[in-house]
Amino acid sequence: MKRFTALYAAIDQTTKTSAKVAALAAYFEAAPEADRLWTIALFSGRRPRRAITTTKLRVWAAERAGIPLWLFEESYPIVGDLAETIALVLPPPGRSHERSLTGWIAYLRALDGAEEEARRAAVLDAWDQMDAAERLVFNKLLTGGFRVGISRKLMTRALGLATGQDEAALAHRLMGDWTPDSTTYRQLIEAPDAEAAQSRPYPFCLAYGIEEGPATLGAPENWRAEWKWDGIRAQVIARGGAHFVWSRGEELMTDRFPEFAHAADFLPGGTVLDGEIVAWDGAAPLPFNDLQKRIGRKSVPKTLLKSAPVILLAYDLLEENGEDLRALPFAERRARMDALMGALPKDAPIRPSPLIGFDEWEALAEIRSTARDMRAEGVMLKSAASPYHAGRKKGDWWKWKLDPLTIDAVMIYAQQGSGRRANLFTDFTFAVWNGNYLVPFAKAYSGLTDAEFRQITAWVRRNTQERFGPVRQVKPEHVFEIAFEGIAPSPRHKSGVALRFPRMKRWRHDKPLQEAASLDDLHEMLRQFG
């Protein structure tokens, strides 16, 4: 654990990517294989099952620190991280230990099913053997979530450095639903493994936004355009008589979308499609709001399958007859995909996302402006010659989104952020006028600069009218332009609407409070764009 804690500190103590990768590569060379495997798992979001509820951890930490629970609870939002708050309030350790990372994880897992008193004693005993840095890591194991400024991409690069293996091949190996229990370091990183390979998706190729429009991309004939759908990015895999549906966040969603249950029947073996899952009304996508009802459900009731059936709008073919096509030019992959789509039965829940024909960029701009009518967010531009990159790479794929909808709203509640934004007011609730009342309709926490967040934080501290736990009601004074991607009716919200991706576009210092928008304005937007 000391080695892992040192790694954690080394990564945490630098803002330089090269230094982080170097620290991680050195760790992968030196650590025992079991620890390496757990490290890969933790840094790719695979954490051990939570053995103890965070409620219990808070109570035990406050007891051990000799402070009342309310004081612990007040301190937590200020620190912005539970694992860290616990590490900071505990008294210095009484002794030290030599247990490894894997050893501590096993220690925690052994508590599964143990009596509460035994678990409490074990956790307190563990805390008493660790310094503050180790406690933070240990508490992170307990509470889950290992976000330390190491992206998967950086971890893969470090692993490549340490093992001498190709980064893209490693990225592919790390995909899928393996756990440290289902594999070993050797199996995962070094040995060929047919069984894991069967379900494994490819790393998704991601696009950058193109704010200024496509004029600088060169000749339009070298590019292909598609609608940018507002759904769930997914790979549908048919291999060896089985099928798998993966999200971009590498979540296996096969059971969530039973519509694809027969995919293996109509897709030839060794097929991987990339596309967007959308709720479908038979001719066009339904609003994202309908798809939302399907997300987060492990099993889907029949009524929902009827009212919001999904399909895959496919836009890329990554594997055909078991052959990896990713190195081929996009135009060729697309041609192969279209041929494959032509052979599908009419009622198959998979359709090609149509290519948009255009000769000039101006013509495409015109078409893009109708995206909302198509229930799309804008258009995608893909270089005809582009391979299917692993991850985000600038140059070949671009998303050209519509300008967001905007509305001027009044800030009425503020809450402190967490992590790097702890102790700063960054989470705000916005309202519009309904007569003389302000009706809350959206929460937003991004879009301002650090300097603006500091400025508003100082203002919030001076202008708090009332507190509700961590939430502060502030004097209605500041108007912000709120940008969002879509609007839908919502009986659960006071305002009757729910926004998609609301964020602060601009702090309207120039706008008087009374000139913020009204509830009528909001409902008019719902009528027009909902």
Partner: protein, 333 residues
């Protein structure tokens, strides 16, 4: 009441004076020279003889009377005296006695001694107005030795790798405190003008500071490989700092106890060095005054006052314009 809380700041009716007032007043008693306590525009100032020179430097031509620690002075119907607060050189708590009732205004204070400031002394009183910048149980400071070891290890590793060490520390107090922790054998210590101005004043007063080199336009960084560069936090990301490359950056503050704040600062290293009392320090100091009534100013005042009430004090939170060791204001102290 011996002291009252007015829009101008803390006021003593019996002596007709204010303590660390925020708006211009006739007579101001100043606990120490930091900008949120020693403001311009008052007609008459009273501060300790040790705090005087820095205040003159910062506030220009002011009518400043000075007083020694422990010396009693009669102002109108009040008797006042200044007592060491351990915050920065010359910092004081102000004791005010009227008709046998004693109030103490802590100013900013630190209970653990350092190499430069006169060590904190508890003062018995009935009512204590205490700062609580770090009034949460998560704030615990490492010992002076541990802090020094950590900073010097960072510096030595940087020097060995051919990097400069760029350390952000407020120009009055923190910068000199950090300098007193440095192992001057590692490499030269360079200073930003704002820091060096304060150094000059303190040296002239007889404070023993390590040798430093003022970074002037004609100083060539490459003549001082591995140097420790001490600058106000605001200068760290500026054009000024860019001449020192490659460099590792650090920031010395009590706030560095929290990872989130450290990451927001975008510095490589955060060192927990504060001129304020930590959680234990505040609690010990308050107990030592023997006061029944506690007023909490600047910091987590609501939470801290609630804690004190649960410990049996009459405690309330005060609204102030003091910022203490400000978390996000770039120039503040």
């Amino acid at each position: 009441m011996v002291l009252q809380f007015k829009p101008q700041g803390i006021y003593c009716p019996a002596g007709d004076f204010h303590i660390d007032p925020w708006r211009p007043v006739d007579r101001a008693l100043i606990t120490h020279g930091h900008a949120d306590h020693a403001r311009p525009g008052h007609r008459r100032y009273l501060a300790t003889d040790i705090a005087g020179p820095v205040m003159r430097h910062r506030l220009g031509e002011i009518d400043l009377d000075s007083i020694r620690y422990g010396e009693e002075r009669r102002i109108g119907g009040a008797t006042v005296s200044f007592h060491p607060a351990g915050h920065i050189p010359g910092s004081a708590q102000v004791r005010v006695e009227v008709g046998g009732e004693i109030w103490v205004v802590s100013g900013d204070y630190k209970t653990v001694p350092d190499a430069l400031s006169t060590p904190f002394e508890p003062v018995k009183c009935h009512s204590f107005i205490t700062e609580c910048t770090f009034g949460l149980p998560v704030f615990t400071w490492p010992s002076e030795t541990d802090a020094a070891r950590e900073i010097n290890a960072w510096w030595a590793a940087n020097a060995a790798a051919g990097r400069f060490s760029l350390l952000g520390a407020y120009s009055l107090g923190k910068a000199q405190r950090v300098m007193s922790l440095l192992d001057a054998d590692i490499a030269p210590i360079l200073t930003h003008g704002a820091v060096e101005n304060t150094n000059d004043i303190l040296r002239a007063q007889g404070f023993d500071l390590p040798r430093t080199l003022h970074v002037t336009p004609d100083l060539k960084p490459k003549d001082h490989p591995g140097a420790m560069v001490i600058a106000p936090p605001g200068a760290l990301g500026s054009e000024w700092a860019r001449r020192f490359r490659p460099a590792s950056t650090g920031f010395a503050s009590g706030w560095m106890r929290m990872r989130g704040v450290r990451r927001r600062r975008s510095v490589d290293r955060g060192f927990v060095v504060s001129d304020h009392a930590d959680w234990a320090g505040l609690n010990v100091a308050i107990k030592a005054t023997g006061a029944e009534n506690i007023y909490a100013t600047h910091g987590y005042t609501d939470i801290f006052a609630r804690w004190l009430r649960s410990e049996g004090y009459n405690a309330e939170a005060l609204k102030t314009e003091f910022t203490g060791e400000a978390l996000d204001a770039e120039g503040a102290e």
